[in-house]
């Protein structure tokens, strides 16, 4: 089973859920796809990480072939190309590497040059394979790094993917590669608002999903109520507990340090297996 762990906003507890869930699923692969804020690495004391660069193709214009028709400039919706003094000027920082300008150029004047945008580190922790993605600060989009992280996810038996927050392109790239989505919700009104945005994305993509209520204060919260009203499966509740927060904040795994949470995550794994098997 391949599980995407996501949330509408940052700080809801995605990494907390993803790293601890990984530990209770034997041989599960952990993927940190939150490439703009990669923090999964702090929870696995794995050294000897193997690193490789992720590159994208940005355009290079041959001034001898370019006739100045401006088709490429007009095409680029990210405004990464401009036409100055009779020549095309490229802005690689703005380029999303869609390849479109190379296709629209009638003269074949545009070729691609590889530019690094991020890095992937691979390691192990006990029986778990680990993949950590990182985006180079200032780069436009983490999607190329995420696509490379998830390139052979289909061949893995169990994978837990720690996704970026929000409901944009990077999240979409993660969700498309998985069987099931686990949405971490802070059960406040604010949390419900963010959840609804995520839910719209998952419905559009047609992915099954369930909810984890994190920092849950009581049985009746706006988040809990939303799940009842919409008949959504709540697969686990994690209490609002300073003891849990303090273990996590020290970079330790709660399932290794706190027995009750160990059982909570095993229950979560079992419920997930049923949900995914449906």
């Amino acid at each position: 089973m391949n599980i995407a762990v996501l949330s509408g906003k940052g700080g809801a507890g995605k990494t907390f859920v993803a790293v601890n869930l990984t530990m209770v699923v034997p041989h599960a692969l952990y993927v940190d796809a939150d490439v703009e804020e990669p923090d999964g690495r702090f929870f696995f004391p794995a050294d000897n990480l193997e690193a490789k660069d992720v590159t994208v193709g940005v355009p290079v214009v041959d001034p001898h072939l370019c006739t100045g028709c401006r088709k490429c400039v007009d095409f680029c919706r990210f405004h990464a190309l401009s036409f100055i003094n009779g020549a095309v000027r490229t802005f690689p920082k703005l380029c999303h590497a869609c390849g479109g300008c190379m296709l629209v150029c009638p003269e074949g004047a545009i070729t691609e040059c590889r530019k690094p945008v991020g890095r992937i580190r691979a390691g192990r922790y006990f029986d778990h394979r680990l993949l950590f993605g990182e985006l180079i600060p200032g780069e436009q989009t983490g999607v190329p790094v995420i696509e490379e992280l998830l390139a052979d996810i289909g061949e893995v038996e169990h994978a837990i993917i720690d996704c970026p927050p929000g409901a944009g392109c990077p999240v979409t790239a993660c969700v498309q590669a998985t069987d099931y989505c686990l949405v971490v919700m802070e059960p406040t009104r604010f949390g419900v608002h963010d959840f609804i945005a995520t839910e719209r994305l998952l419905k559009t993509l047609g992915k099954p999903y369930g909810v984890i209520l994190n920092k849950s204060t009581s049985a009746s919260t706006p988040g809990g109520q939303y799940c009842i009203d919409n008949a959504l499966p709540v697969l686990a509740r994690i209490p609002y507990d300073p003891a849990i927060a303090s273990i996590h904040s020290e970079g330790k795994l709660v399932v290794e340090e706190n027995e009750a949470q160990g059982h909570n995550f095993i229950d979560l794994r079992e419920r997930l297996q049923k949900e995914v098997g449906r």
């Binding site: 400039v73 919706r77 990210f78 405004h79 990464a80 190309l81 401009s82 036409f83 100055i84 003094n85 000027r89 802005f91 703005l94 999303h96 436009q140």
Partner: protein, 127 residues
């Protein structure tokens, strides 16, 4: 000479204020210094999510402007104007008219580097 300035108005008037932001201004006014005629060009870069400075600078260049007067200028737009040999002057006065007069007296300072990042005029969400 054709002088371009970012503004927030759709009909030209010398009393219009120069906008706070270059790339996110609603329109540009292009003034002919000889004839004192002004025309308005829409800024189609106003609500783009990426590369507004590049696109806005392209609009000005395509209008055959000879110089730009702005309150702030971003890095990408600054680079394009530099490459196109278009001088960018700092708007030190409130209105289009006052800045044009100062330009003619050659008292406006020239930008030699882009404005610091992180400034965006507060406004409602684009709809």
């Amino acid at each position: 000479m054709r002088i371009a300035m970012p503004v927030e108005f759709t009909s030209p008037s010398p009393a219009n204020e120069v906008a706070e932001n270059f790339a996110r201004a609603q329109t540009f006014v292009i003034c002919e210094t000889e004839s004192e005629k002004c025309e308005i060009v829409k800024n189609s870069a106003q609500n783009t999510t990426s590369g507004a400075g590049v696109k806005a600078a392209q609009i000005i260049i395509d209008q055959d402007a000879d110089a730009v007067i702005a309150r702030r200028i971003g890095e990408n737009a600054f680079d394009i104007f530099k490459e196109a040999h278009l001088p960018v002057y700092k708007a030190e006065y409130v209105t289009v008219e006052e800045n044009l007069a100062a330009f003619s007296r050659e008292t406006l300072p020239l930008y030699v580097s882009p404005s610091p990042k992180g400034y965006r005029k507060r406004r409602g969400r684009p709809v």
